[in-house]
C-alpha cells in the first residue's frame, strides 16, 4: 500500500490534462513547423509535395535569397527601433519620476490625459502626424518615423514607470533631499538603480511594438528607408512570377527573429530584476 502511495498518481484526470496540453502545443507549433520546413525546401519540392512533408533535400537557398532582399530593410528597422526605444524609455522614466515623486498642481490631470494616448488607435493619429511631420520637414525620413514612434510610445512608457515609481516610498526622495541631492541626482543615483525590472519591461514592450509596426512604417517612410515589416509585405505580395514560398517564409522568420531574441535574452534579466529588486519599504 505504501509503495502505491509514494507513486505519482496517474489518474484519469491527469491523463486528460496532458492530452489537452499536448494537443494545444501541437496546434500552436504547426505554423512554425510549416514555416521552418518550407523555408528549407526547394521551390520544386514545395510545388510537388505535401505542405507538412519533410523536405526531400534541405537547402538554404530560400534563406540566402530572402536575406539578400531584406538585408537593407532589416538594418533600417534597427535604425528606427533602437533610437525610438531608447528615447521613449528615457523620457518615460523621467515622466514617471516627476508624476509620482514631484507632483505638481494638476499632475494627476496631466497623467490622465497622457493615458488617452494608450487608447488611441494608430489609424487616428496618421493624418495629424503626417501633417506635423510635413511642417517639421521630417516627412518620409527615418528621423520622422523615430519621432512618431517616440511620441506614440510615451503614453505607455510613462504609464509603466509612473506605476512602478508610485510603489517606491516617498521617504526615499525626502531622505535624499535632506542629504542635499537635487532632482537629477536623486533620479540617477537612487531611483534609476532601483528601476531595472521596469526598464526591462519597457524595453521589451517598446522594442516589440516598434519593430513589429507596419502601419507607421508604410505611411511615414518610403523607398530605401522602409522598415523590414513593409519590405516583407512588398516581397510576399508581389504578383509577378512564381511564388517563392521558401523565400517568403525565410524572410518572415528573419523579420521575427530580433523580437524573439529580445524575449529570450531580456526576459531572463526581467525575471532576475524582479526578484533582485525586491526590497522591504
Amino acid at each position: 500500500m505504501t509503495s502505491l502511495a509514494n507513486k505519482p498518481a496517474l489518474s484519469l484526470s491527469r491523463v486528460a490534462i496532458y492530452a489537452v496540453l499536448i494537443v494545444a502545443v501541437f496546434i500552436y507549433l504547426v505554423p512554425l513547423v510549416v514555416m521552418l520546413l518550407t523555408s528549407f525546401k526547394s521551390p520544386e519540392d514545395i510545388g510537388s509535395g505535401n505542405l507538412l512533408s519533410w523536405p526531400t533535400e534541405v537547402t538554404a537557398i530560400g534563406w540566402i535569397k530572402a536575406w539578400a532582399t531584406v538585408k537593407g530593410y532589416f538594418w533600417n528597422s534597427f535604425l528606427i527601433t533602437v533610437p525610438a526605444v531608447l528615447i521613449s524609455t528615457t523620457i518615460g522614466a523621467l515622466n514617471g519620476y516627476v508624476l509620482s515623486m514631484w507632483r505638481f498642481r494638476g499632475s494627476q490631470l496631466f497623467f490622465g490625459l497622457l493615458l488617452f494616448g494608450c487608447f488611441l488607435p494608430f489609424q487616428t493619429v496618421l493624418l495629424p502626424a503626417s501633417f506635423t511631420l510635413g511642417k517639421m520637414g521630417l516627412a518620409s525620413t527615418t528621423t520622422g518615423l523615430v519621432f512618431v514612434h517616440v511620441v506614440y510610445g510615451l503614453a505607455f512608457t510613462t504609464l509603466f514607470f509612473r506605476n512602478y515609481y508610485v510603489s517606491i516610498p516617498d521617504a526615499l526622495v525626502k531622505a535624499a533631499r535632506l542629504d542635499g541631492a537635487g532632482f537629477f541626482t536623486i533620479f540617477r543615483r537612487i531611483i534609476l538603480p532601483m528601476s531595472t525590472p521596469i526598464i526591462m519591461v519597457c524595453l521589451i514592450w517598446q522594442f516589440t511594438q516598434i519593430w513589429n509596426d507596419f502601419l507607421f512604417g508604410v505611411v511615414f517612410s518610403s523607398g530605401d528607408s522602409q522598415p523590414i515589416t513593409v519590405a516583407l509585405n512588398n516581397l510576399v505580395n508581389t504578383s509577378t512570377g512564381v511564388k517563392e514560398y521558401n523565400v517568403d517564409m525565410a524572410a518572415a522568420m528573419i523579420a521575427g527573429l530580433p523580437t524573439l531574441l529580445v524575449y529570450v535574452v531580456a526576459g531572463k534579466y526581467f525575471v532576475r530584476g524582479l526578484t533582485a529588486g525586491a526590497v522591504k519599504g
Binding site: 516610498p169 525626502k174 535632506l178 541631492a181 525586491a278 526590497v279
Partner: protein, 386 residues
C-alpha cells in the same frame, strides 16, 4: 547644534481647507530633546516636514539658531532626519548610504572615511558596512538610518516615529539607547511619536498636539501632573487617568465632590475653592496611582469601600477596577494585593492631586494648589449606608 524656535507657524493645504497647523509656537534650547506627540492626524508629522523644509509653511517663521529658515530648501537647512520606514537607499551598501550625503556635500574622501568609521563605531554597525539594507534586520536598519543622520553632524536631528516599526522588546532597548546617545552627544533633537511612553521617557520638552494645535507644551512632568485640558490628561499616562463626571457641592464652606461606590459614599474636599465651580458639571480626573489601599500611613485621607469588579495583575502592579459614580475606575495597587472579584476594598484618595475639567469644553478648572499638608484638608466625613 542650535536652538529651534517656531514662531506662530501656520500651514494649510489650500484656501477653504481646514488648517493643518494652527499658530504653532514653541522653542527649545541647544541640545534639548523635543517630543511632538499626539494621535494620528494631529499634524505632528506635517510639523516635522515643515521644520525639515519638505513642506512649506503658509505663515510664521522657523528659526534655527538666529536664522529664519522658513524659505530655505531642505538641503540648506542643515538638518538630518530619520524616517519611520528608515528610507535607506536599497541599491546602496550601508557604507554608501552613510556616505551619500557627505559625498553630495563634496567632503573629501579621507574625511568621509573617518566619519563613516566614527559613526559605525558609535552605533556598532562596523560589521554591516558592506551589506545591502535588504540583508539587515529591522533593528540593524534602524541603526543604519541613525548612522546616516549622525554622519553629517547637522544642526538639528529630526526623528519621525523611528521606533514604531520595531517589535516591542527591541523598541524598549532602542529607546534607552537613544536616550543614552542623546545624553552623550547633546544634539538638538525633534522627535515625533504617538507613543506617550516614548514622549515621557525621552523628552526634555513635550508638545502634545491635536487637530493641528499644540494643546500643551512643557516638561514631561508638567504634562503629566498638570495637564492643560482633558485631552492631554487622557492622552498621557498608562493606564489612563480616570474621569468621573459629577457636580461639585459646597459643604461647610468647602467645595466637595461626592463619590459613591454603591456600597458607601465619601466626600472628597477640593484643594481649589473657586466660587464659580459650585454646582457645576465637572469631570474629576484621578490617576490610577493616586488611589491607594487604606493604611495607617495615610490616615486622614478620604476613604471609601468599594467592590472589586476586575483585577489585572501586570507584574509590577495589580490594576483593580471598581465603579465610582457609575464610572469604571482603575486603581493601581501593589502587586502583592490580589483581591478576589467581589471582595470589598477600602480605598483612599489624595484630594490634593485631584484635577477638575469643564464637562463641556474639557478645559482645566481651578489652578492646582501647591501641595498642602493633609491636616489642612478639613474634616473628612464618611457616610456609611449600612
Amino acid at each position: 547644534m542650535a536652538t529651534l524656535e517656531l514662531r506662530n507657524v501656520n500651514k494649510t493645504y489650500g484656501a477653504g481647507l481646514p488648517d493643518t497647523l494652527k499658530n504653532i509656537e514653541l522653542s527649545i534650547k541647544e541640545g534639548e530633546f523635543l517630543i511632538l506627540v499626539g494621535p494620528s492626524g494631529c499634524g505632528k508629522s506635517t510639523l516635522m516636514n515643515c521644520i525639515a523644509g519638505l513642506e512649506n509653511i503658509t505663515g510664521g517663521a522657523i528659526m534655527i539658531g538666529d536664522q529664519d529658515v522658513s524659505g530655505m530648501s531642505p538641503k540648506d537647512r542643515d538638518i538630518a532626519m530619520v524616517f519611520q520606514s528608515y528610507a535607506l537607499y536599497p541599491t546602496m551598501s550601508v557604507r554608501e548610504n552613510i556616505e551619500f550625503g557627505l559625498k553630495i556635500r563634496k567632503m573629501n574622501q579621507a574625511d568621509i572615511d573617518a566619519e563613516v568609521a566614527r559613526v559605525a563605531k558609535l552605533l556598532q554597525i562596523e560589521h554591516l558596512l558592506n551589506r545591502k539594507p535588504g540583508q539587515l534586520s529591522g533593528g540593524q536598519q534602524q541603526r543604519v538610518a541613525m548612522g546616516r543622520a549622525l554622519a553629517r553632524r547637522p544642526k538639528i536631528y529630526l526623528f519621525d516615529e523611528p521606533l514604531s516599526n520595531l517589535d516591542a522588546k527591541l523598541r524598549v532597548e532602542m529607546r534607552t539607547e537613544m536616550k543614552l546617545m542623546h545624553q552623550r552627544l547633546k544634539t538638538t533633537t525633534v522627535y515625533v511619536t504617538h507613543d506617550q511612553i516614548e514622549a515621557m521617557t525621552l523628552g526634555d520638552k513635550v508638545a502634545v498636539m491635536k487637530d493641528g494645535i499644540i494643546q500643551q507644551f512643557g516638561t514631561p512632568k508638567q504634562i503629566y501632573n498638570d495637564p492643560a485640558n482633558l485631552f492631554v490628561a487622557s492622552f498621557i499616562g498608562s493606564p489612563p487617568m480616570n474621569f468621573i463626571p459629577l457636580r461639585l457641592q459646597r459643604k461647610d464652606g468647602r467645595l466637595v465632590a461626592l463619590l459613591d461606590s454603591g456600597q458607601a459614599r465619601c466626600e472628597l474636599p477640593m484643594s481649589m475653592n473657586d466660587a464659580g465651580l459650585e454646582d457645576r458639571e465637572v469631570i474629576l480626573g484621578l490617576r490610577p496611582e493616586q488611589i491607594v489601599l487604606a493604611s495607617g500611613d495615610t490616615a486622614g485621607l478620604p476613604t471609601l469601600r468599594a467592590e472589586v469588579q476586575v483585577t489585572e495583575p501586570t507584574g509590577p502592579d495589580t490594576l483593580v477596577f471598581v465603579t465610582l459614580n457609575e464610572s469604571k475606575v482603575c486603581c493601581r495597587l501593589a502587586p502583592d494585593i490580589a483581591p478576589a472579584v467581589g471582595e470589598t476594598l477600602t480605598l483612599q484618595f489624595d484630594p490634593a492631586k485631584v484635577l477638575l475639567f469643564d464637562a463641556k469644553t474639557g478645559e482645566r478648572l481651578g489652578v492646582l494648589a501647591p501641595s498642602q499638608p493633609v491636616e489642612n484638608m478639613g474634616n473628612v466625613t464618611r457616610l456609611n449606608r449600612n
